[in-house]
């Protein structure tokens, strides 16, 4: 059997039951936002601040940086509860999931002390700068570059599709710091770029749903001090790759359409239509299985493993599922349908194209899975 296809059953520690209750109690007090289970759909600095006050940002990080010292499985429970309820997690999402762990793995002590407590307190948000106008899936082809100057680097270029850059404080930006050599993956570095620096211009791009949550970001002779380089200059590719298991295996990869399913099921309480119920059952069997796979991976991460193939499998299966939910539900709408279902469905269909693009396209993921199968 292929190693990368192992999803050993893992149980959630009994301690999470109380935590889950606390999160639910917290959420019942939250009434200011419209629920949407797409992690990228809602961003509220005020909500992120309230969440931080509960200790639910940076939960797994060491307490000496303000973190909660909790397990990945405890974090898992908090994140899945937030997504299922449709909370506006957009502001702190990247910092909590990715930027913080990156700094813990590769950052300097000074960087950790500066950024981690600020993320934990809900005062510092991050974006990711990878894609460029001429670079999407072929990440090694980026052209945004920096040249060494006294005490730091001079950065020029542009990033695109940068979610939340207009709200966030920093973006972890992948930059070419040495000319392209035979090894295309060499010469790349990760910088912590302050998005509010005068040399940084953030320009919103409207998406097809008519919202402006992603941006093009321009760097014009931006000075990046040496203290803002993450890890070793030139080690950027390996560092980016190490984030992928965190980025791709979580509940946000299959819960984006959850509000549609939840509202559909609610409407079916008063309908005994068989095809509708069969569809609800089908969507639930997928969801339960995906969740079990995803928790297996959270447990592997907790044990220090790097399950990249499993993460790609979850994201690909999960994204396929997220896109299937609205397409099938729209064909089985109950006669007595709620306004909430109609609204969730419309939102979901409008955002669905992004599900299989963001964080690694379907085609890239399937390439990774194929490598896991030994085909490449």
């Amino acid at each position: 059997m292929f190693q990368g296809m192992n999803f050993s059953p893992a149980s959630l520690p009994s301690s999470v039951a109380g935590l889950r209750k606390e999160v639910r109690a917290f959420l019942t007090e939250e009434t200011e936002w419209q629920p949407n289970s797409d992690f990228n759909a809602g961003a509220s600095p005020a909500f992120s601040k309230r969440l931080a006050q509960q200790g639910w940002i940076g939960m797994t990080w060491p307490t000496r940086y303000g973190g909660g010292g909790k397990s990945f499985l405890e974090r898992y429970v908090v994140t899945e509860e937030l997504l299922a309820a449709g909370a506006p997690v957009g502001c702190h999402w990247i910092a909590d999931r990715q930027s913080g762990p990156l700094l813990l793995n590769f950052g300097t002590e000074e960087q950790r002390q500066k950024f981690l407590p600020a993320i934990v307190s809900g005062d510092c948000f991050f974006s990711i700068g990878m894609s460029e106008p001429d670079t999407g899936s072929d990440l090694a082809s980026i052209r945004t570059s920096a040249v060494k100057v006294d005490g730091g680097w001079c950065l020029n270029g542009s990033k695109i599709w940068t979610s939340g850059a207009h709200l966030n404080h920093y973006m972890i930006t992948l930059v070419r710091t040495a000319a392209v050599s035979e090894n295309r993956h060499a010469g790349l570095s990760q910088f912590i770029v302050p998005t509010r620096d005068p040399g940084v211009t953030v320009r919103g791009i409207d998406n097809l749903a008519g919202e402006s949550d992603f941006n093009q970001v321009f760097f014009d002779d931006v000075f990046i001090a040496d203290e803002l380089v993450v890890g070793e200059p030139g080690n950027g590719w390996a560092q980016v790759m190490s984030e992928l298991a965190y980025e791709r295996s979580g509940p946000e990869r299959f819960l984006s359409a959850f509000r549609v399913l939840a509202e559909f099921v609610r409407c079916l309480q008063s309908s005994s239509d068989k095809p509708q119920r069969i569809l609800a059952g089908r969507l639930i069997t997928h969801l339960v299985t995906l969740r079990r796979m995803s928790i297996s991976v959270a447990n592997m991460l907790e044990n220090g493993e790097m399950p990249d193939t499993q993460a790609a499998l979850i994201k690909d299966l999960g994204n396929t599922y997220e896109r299937m939910v609205p397409e099938l539900v729209r064909l089985q709408l109950p006669e007595q349908r709620s306004q909430a279902l109609a609204a969730a469905l419309q939102e979901c269909i409008l955002h669905a194209p992004s599900f299989t693009l963001r964080g690694g396209t379907r085609e890239i993921l399937r390439g990774i899975i194929a490598r896991g199968l030994g085909l490449r």
């Binding site: 050993s8 069997t285 194929a370």
Partner: protein, 350 residues
């Protein structure tokens, strides 16, 4: 899986790999019953795992039996193993000794008179011609105990078989019966236990499909690496890689759904429903891709691939197809009026 279950899996895997090569399956499909393989399994105690030793079984749990079925399915073992497993469980529950094997539980249209005259028929009995014993479920409730039904144990000499087969190519016969049953061979079985026997069947088919799917993925990957076209292995083409990645996703989900059944001490009906529905869905998609990648050679009867795909097409329809179990899952979630969907999902064991 626990360590002793891994040992069971390894032992079973070794025996099926050595003793059930594709030729054995081919022979069985040409009408020669695999008696030799059956005897080897018998000698190794692999036929009646989960049946108490006191009743003539090999002890252990039904999980051991499910693990053995999964290993058997990887090699498309052409024997009534699941059938014997289910009937064995029923007899074990009734504290009855095991009769001559193989045995199968038969439902259909059967009547039993007060004097012990049994007659009726069932149109689809897998491996009917090969079974030595039959447990016949009589229609309708017992007059004295309405929550039970009567089960009659009869032997091969008491039934008439008309041969047929199903989509898998395995025997699936018409059975008719007109016989006297002695009193000690008539048992009362709780109706609930008859439902439980169906659940055992669904669980058995779910893990068998998961095993066959894993094997089929391995076969297909190996073939893609070995088959050359346009000057390179077809595995190097993105069109093939993308299809195999989808296949792998379906197999990974199936394996996870099946493993859930093997993790618990006893069967949870909802988990069986989820596994049977999810793996059934995976079977169709996976068989399609496996055949597409194999090309015409996989479509030939002699190729091993279709020993697996034909069985998947059969098993996904037995003991409740996808829609049957999807509806069952929906009913459980929807009839719990107090519960919100999310709350119910998080209450399930992961």
């Amino acid at each position: 899986m626990h360590e002793d279950q891994m040992l069971v899996a390894d032992a079973a895997n070794r025996i099926f790999t050595e003793e059930c090569p594709p030729e054995v399956v081919e022979q069985a499909e040409s009408g020669i019953y695999a008696t030799g393989l059956w005897e080897i399994l018998n000698t190794n105690g692999l036929l009646l795992a989960g049946v108490d030793e006191a009743n003539g079984g090999s002890g252990g749990s039904i999980i051991d039996a499910l693990i053995i079925l999964r290993e058997a399915a990887r090699r498309a073992a052409p024997l009534p193993l699941a059938e014997t497993f289910i009937a064995g469980q029923v007899l074990n529950h009734l504290q009855q000794p095991m009769p001559a094997l193989p045995i199968t539980l038969v439902q259909g249209n059967f009547e039993l008179s007060p004097s012990g005259h049994l007659n009726g028929a069932s149109s689809r009995v897998p491996f009917g011609r090969n079974c030595q014993s039959f447990l016949i479920a009589v229609n309708g409730a017992n007059r004295q105990a309405p929550q039970t039904i009567s089960l009659c144990l009869v032997d091969a000499g008491q039934v008439s078989i008309e041969q047929g087969n199903n989509i898998s190519g395995e025997p699936c016969d018409h059975l008719s019966i007109e016989t006297e049953v002695i009193e000690s061979h008539v048992f009362n079985l709780d109706r609930q236990w008859l439902n439980y026997a169906e659940l055992l069947g669904a669980a058995g088919r779910a893990v068998m499909m998961a095993g066959a799917l894993e094997e089929m993925l391995q076969l297909t990957v190996d073939y893609a690496l070995e088959r050359h076209q346009f000057g390179k292995a077809i595995a190097k083409f993105q069109a093939i890689q993308q299809q195999l990645a989808v296949f792998a996703g379906e197999v990974a989900a199936s394996k996870r759904a099946a493993d859930t059944l093997l993790e618990s001490a006893e069967l949870n009906a909802l988990d069986v429903a989820i596994a049977k529905a999810r793996i059934g869905e995976a079977s169709g998609i996976s068989a399609e891709i496996a055949h597409q990648v194999h090309g015409a050679i996989g479509y030939t009867r002699e190729h091993r691939l279709n020993q697996l795909t034909r069985r998947l097409w059969q098993w996904r329809d037995e003991f409740g197809n996808e829609n049957y179990w999807q509806h069952y899952v929906a009913e459980i979630f929807l009839n719990d009026a107090a519960g919100e969907l999310w709350q119910e999902i998080t209450e399930l064991k992961v």
